[in-house]
């Protein structure tokens, strides 16, 4: 008897405490999952509202938000404006990341080799097959390049990293765009596939003469031998947080309908050429205004208080100007019954 009573009281207490602060639910991209988790932890401590984020992949996130099983979806690649309109969705960026080519060439250390976009495309297409190819040698005066065959390593799993990288190659090489194209997973002309950043990095480390590409945070944490890539102004920036932020700051967000922007090959002497943001997807017309409001509230809080946490995990926070632009968009784009669900504090 007593046990039942205690149990009932316990359940009632739980219900009572859970009722006012409904948790936010989200699903999608795995790349930003660690920073979302860290934000959520601090946010819960200060507001009592938790975030239930399932890192199931961008594709899964898009499917889940379309099926309306979550409050927001998360994707590493932006949806095209037409797709957004068709689904009634609105997207905004949260943090910035990028892709860094890494190599394993005996005698060559990080940042020593300089490549251009077309050279990368030719290497990944299998046209340039040796490290002492005249094209590479000419671009790297003073660097002693061995006559080693090039082994290409790419991601085997569908990923936003591959999407960004192949989009960049398509941008830089008409041949690549026509024959391979840009997608989460493509029909790679040459090379072998490793699963995840770990898989690619392991194969690159184990194969002399190999070249692969990984997420910036991963390259940094593992001190990978990165390659410098020429940007739009002809400079070779370093893959550092500042240079990714430079690319994000230089981008013309205001002129991008639906925030569809790939931060690739952006202007600015310091802009890292293969940069990309990760995105949140919410419905323009919120069926449940309270849920929509708590999503925007959470990301507004993260914009204000989350930069240090993001930087400590090697994500690049959005530049301030981009944040204020997105905040203004919320009031216009996310509504319930014609009224904005959240207009900032």
């Amino acid at each position: 008897m007593l046990k039942t009573f205690v149990a009932t009281a316990g359940v009632a207490a739980l219900l009572a405490s859970a009722a006012p602060a409904a948790d936010i639910t989200g699903a999608g991209a795995t790349f930003p999952a660690p920073v979302y988790a860290k934000w959520a932890e601090t946010y819960k401590a200060s507001t009592g509202i938790g975030l239930n984020y399932q890192a199931i992949g961008s594709g899964g996130g898009i499917k889940q938000i379309k099926a309306k099983t979550v409050d927001f979806g998360a994707s590493d690649k932006p949806l095209k404006p037409a797709d957004l309109d068709a689904a009634g969705l609105y997207q905004f960026p949260t943090v910035v990341g990028g892709v860094v080519p890494i190599v394993n060439i005996p005698g060559i250390s990080a940042g020593q080799i300089k490549l251009t976009g077309p050279m990368l495309a030719a290497i990944f297409y299998g046209q340039i097959t040796k490290w002492d190819d005249p094209v590479i040698v000419k671009n790297n005066p003073g660097v002693k390049l061995p006559a080693l065959p090039i082994t290409v390593v790419h991601r085997s799993d569908g990923s936003g990293t591959s999407f960004l990288f192949t989009s960049y190659l398509s941008m830089k090489s008409a041949g690549w765009a026509g024959k391979v194209g840009a997608s989460d997973s493509v029909n790679w002309p040459v090379g072998l596939g490793g699963k995840g950043n770990d898989g690619v990095s392991a194969f690159v480390k184990q194969t002399a003469g190999s070249i692969g590409y990984v997420e910036y945070a991963y390259a940094k944490q593992n001190h990978a031998a990165y390659v410098l890539v020429q940007n739009k102004t002809g400079k070779y920036p370093q893959p550092t947080a500042q240079d990714f932020a430079a690319a994000a700051a230089g981008a013309k967000w205001a002129a991008a309908p639906g925030n569809y922007l790939l931060l690739l090959d952006q202007p600015g002497a310091n802009s890292w050429p293969i940069t990309g943001a990760t995105f949140i997807l919410v419905y323009k017309e919120q069926a449940n205004p309270a849920a929509g409001q708590s999503v925007l509230k959470f990301f507004d809080w993260a914009y204000k208080n989350g930069d240090a946490a993001a930087a400590s995990l090697d994500y690049v926070p959005l530049p301030g100007a981009v944040k204020s632009l997105v905040r203004k968009q919320w009031a216009v784009n996310v509504k319930a019954g014609g009224k904005p669900v959240y207009s900032g504090q």
């Binding site: 795995t30 199931i56 992949g57 961008s58 594709g59 899964g60 898009i62 499917k63 082994t151 085997s156 799993d157 569908g158 990923s159 936003g160 391979v180 194209g181 840009a182 997608s183 989460d184 997973s185 493509v186 029909n187 790679w188 090379g191 072998l192 596939g193 490793g194 699963k195 770990d198 898989g199 392991a202 194969f203 184990q206 194969t207 190999s210």
Partner: protein, 320 residues
């Protein structure tokens, strides 16, 4: 509960009626368990067929015979993964079978009782290691070792145009069909060895002792008495291993190299059906891509079913 017990004690009649009712409930429960399983199986097949239909409809037989797997142009042909699945599974079986036989014969026939149990338990524990752990071990330990100690010497010592050179050609980094088969072999070995051991233990000791009594050597007892005795069970063991190897996902994904084309040599990178699905399903956004992956699932299902059916047929054939 307590009142029911008192009732059944105080009256004799309900006890019998209750047991009849219990029988009915028991039978119904068993029946529904069995039908539920059948329904789940049918549900899986039907939903795979429906989900994969767009791919089958668009590509027809080409889905199985073509090697083009291109998510950008939305062209899907699964010959590469299908061949990769069959080759890795059969290779794994060829490697694991003699080892499993050896382990179980040693345990049953030659091993002192005191260490037989620990070895048997160790073999069974191997079966409990998660697949992804095998994958990581394969990627970080086996692949680099294999590349430097097996692939490089072969590459250097044999002409690349000779037969051996062609069978073993490939980038020396240990990510290939052969190392995937090795990992698979280690993974299916404990299952096969455990079942083999149980099988060999079913041989009546009188039969074995009689054979020894007639002056047979250990080898003769094993080869001429015990193995024929468990003969049809052996087919079952092989099919169990093969079934598991066909569907294994994570470990293979880590080490097979994941290229969709047709593998040209044993040391070429390839892919399997399960690894392709694991790699691409999470990020497959277009409908045709998802459909192609689900269709792959159906192909794997049919392949596994064919293996089981063959096993049944072989078993039935042996009975006669």
């Amino acid at each position: 509960m307590s009142t029911a017990a008192i009732d059944s004690f105080s009256e004799a009649r309900p006890a019998r009626a209750q047991s009849a009712l219990g029988e009915t409930i028991f039978r119904t429960l068993c029946f529904s368990a069995a039908t539920l399983l059948m329904a789940a199986l049918a549900g899986v097949v039907v939903s795979l067929a429906i989900g994969g239909w767009p791919a089958f409809h668009k590509f027809g037989l080409g889905f199985i015979t073509s090697t083009a797997w291109n998510p950008v142009t939305e062209e899907y042909g699964a010959a590469g993964p299908i061949v990769g699945t069959i080759v890795t599974s059969i290779l794994a079986l060829l490697i694991a079978l003699p080892l499993a036989l050896g382990v179980s014969i040693f345990l049953v026939e030659f091993c002192p009782k005191r260490i037989a149990r620990p070895i048997a338990i160790a073999v069974e524990l191997l079966a409990g290691i998660p697949s992804i752990v095998y994958g990581m071990w394969g990627l970080f330990v086996l692949a680099p070792w294999f590349a430097t100690h097996v692939q490089l010497p072969i590459l250097m010592d044999f002409d690349s145009n000779s037969l051996i050179g062609r069978i073993f050609s490939g980038v020396p980094n240990g990510a290939n069909i052969f190392t995937a088969s090795l990992i698979l072999a280690i993974m299916i070995l404990p299952y096969m060895a455990a079942v083999f051991r149980e099988l060999l233990l079913t041989v009546p000791s009188q039969v074995r002792e009689a054979a020894y009594g007639l002056g047979s050597t250990s080898f003769e007892v094993v080869a001429k008495v015990m193995l024929p005795y468990v003969g049809k069970g052996t087919v079952g063991v092989i099919m169990l291993g093969l079934g598991r190897a066909l569907g294994e996902t994570m470990a293979v994904t880590f080490i097979i190299g994941n290229s969709h084309g047709f593998p040209h040599s044993l040391f070429d990178s390839g892919s399997t059906i399960a690894s392709t699905i694991a790699n691409e399903f999470a990020e497959a956004t277009s409908d045709m891509h998802t459909a192609a992956l689900i269709a792959l699932g159906l192909v794997l299902f049919v392949l596994t079913f064919a293996v089981l059916a063959t096993a049944r047929a072989l078993l039935a054939g042996q009975k006669n």
